[in-house]
Amino acid sequence: MRINSINRIFQQVKTMKLAEVIRIYINWFVSSSKETTKKMFLFLKVNLILILVIVLVFLIPACLRFVLLQVKTIGINPVILNQEEIAVTKKKIVQETKLINEKLDARTPKSFYLIINSSSNEFSLYKGFQLVKTDKCSTGSYILLKNSDQQQWMFKTPKGEFKIKSKTTSPVWKKPDWAFIEEGLPVPSANHDSRFEYGVLGDYALNLGQGYLIHGTLYQRFLGLPVTHGCIRLNDENLELIYNSLSVGSKVYIY
């Protein structure tokens, strides 16, 4: 029955011209929207008070917040000074600020110092306020190595202010226990020959203390990535520059 009636309507529409269909549709839309508008007005008329109350409930606090802050500002008594007082106070503030600025500037080393960004794996070499060189480096991988003996090693570069403790040329790496454990090898005795590796740290090494070094690398493709066991790796050219620029006692800032 329903399918028949739908078919009949479909046939009628099919026979109608397009303009006719549009006209019918517009008539239906206008009449229905008129009805909706009528209903809306009726609703507004009946619930006018309620609607007003709802609006005020939100409007009054918003206005109050604005007005209160204005009143607070107006309430402050303005200071009135004569020209002499203005000049004296101004001079005092300027002088005090200048003194503070001088003290602040004195905190920055005048000689070479190194800044390491362990997040983006970049270093910046400065002399005073002047940037000398910035390039890629490698810092700690943040790997926490655990073995079955409940031992664990955290491979991260420490953050803060450090000083160059010592400088060496052609450094030899004395492999610690974790280097063997990481490679799945048995740990040899403290001064066993297999602990000593030549040429893996590059031509120079700068000691930051607590076993952390700034050194070269054989794995140049990993520069700019967090891959080290906590040391700072540089390419050969940058290592030479830093070795020649920094002296024992020079500051290294790592963040």
Partner: protein
């Protein structure tokens, strides 16, 4: 008694549903009013902090309240705070909205500096008097809590291999290269909130992370306000500063900051 009769009569005529709506509206109104006056209470709190420090009050030169000195006094306060910060040997943060820069410092040495692309400063902070400003911002402000969408230390736990064959199998590219969208929230001493956002959100994931970061914060804020309202406690107001910087710098700053770090702030002088 007459009033009560009138009211009960009114409620009977208008019906229970409408009465409930009106009562709810009254409650909402009182709730919103309590929130609306919260900034004023915050200003009073700042004033109390100033008055409670008798040493500061006695040393403060009242001529500094002169409107023309506002900028100079605020700059001096910032530099004073920087000098005090330079005596701390851990990594600290400096936010200077006057020259749109944010930087990291160790012992007074600037180790990282970024240009702030965009920032928004709470209107309440513009209303601080010179005296209040100097008291609050001439010292490094302690970070009381930190919250972020990125982790401070991207630690990867790795079990030691049993032999060289297993070691060769687990030797892979660094895992820590995976980077998440960065949004940071720092709550400072004196109840000031500092939001640091990455300056661009290129894909849907970034926008979604931003939305959920703020949704989490706003939900707890609304719930806290509501809880305070029903327990008849004073509403809290946290003036906010929102900053946008590149994501790589944001990660570097967040990862560098220790748990109990200090911040030095220089607000934009809008007076």
């Amino acid at each position: 008694m007459r009033l009560f009769d009138k009211l009960s009569g009114y409620f009977q005529n208008t019906g229970l549903a409408v009465s409930i709506i009106y009562i709810s509206l009254c409650v909402i109104f009182v709730f919103l009013i309590s929130i609306a006056i919260a900034p004023l209470q915050k200003l009073n709190e700042f004033e109390k902090i100033v008055n409670s420090d008798s040493l500061f009050t006695s040393n403060y030169d009242n001529n500094w309240n002169y409107s023309e000195f506002s900028e100079m006094v605020k700059y001096k306060a910032y530099k004073e705070a920087m000098l005090k910060l330079s005596k701390k040997d851990s990594i600290q943060l400096s936010v200077n909205l006057n020259d749109s820069s944010i930087g990291l410092y160790i012992n007074g040495v600037n180790i990282h500096q970024v240009h702030i692309k965009l920032f928004k400063q709470d209107n309440l902070l513009n209303e601080l008097s010179n005296k209040q400003y100097v008291k609050i911002f001439s010292e490094p402000v302690k970070i009381s809590s930190q919250n972020a969408t990125i982790i401070k230390e991207p630690i990867v736990v790795r079990q030691a291999p049993k032999d060289t064959i297993e070691a060769a199998l687990i030797a892979t590219e660094p895992i820590t290269l995976t980077q998440n969208p960065a949004f940071i929230f720092l709550r400072l001493e004196y109840g000031i909130d500092l939001f640091i956002e990455q300056d661009s959100n290129p894909d849907f994931h970034d926008n979604w992370v931003k939305f959920s970061h703020y949704a989490k914060f706003n939900t707890s804020k609304i719930l806290n306000s509501f809880f305070r309202f029903i327990t008849f406690k004073k509403q809290e107001y946290y003036p906010t500063i929102t900053i946008k910087i590149p994501a790589t710098d944001l990660r570097a700053i967040y990862r560098a900051l220790p748990q109990n770090a200090f911040v030095v702030i220089s607000l934009k002088n809008n007076k």
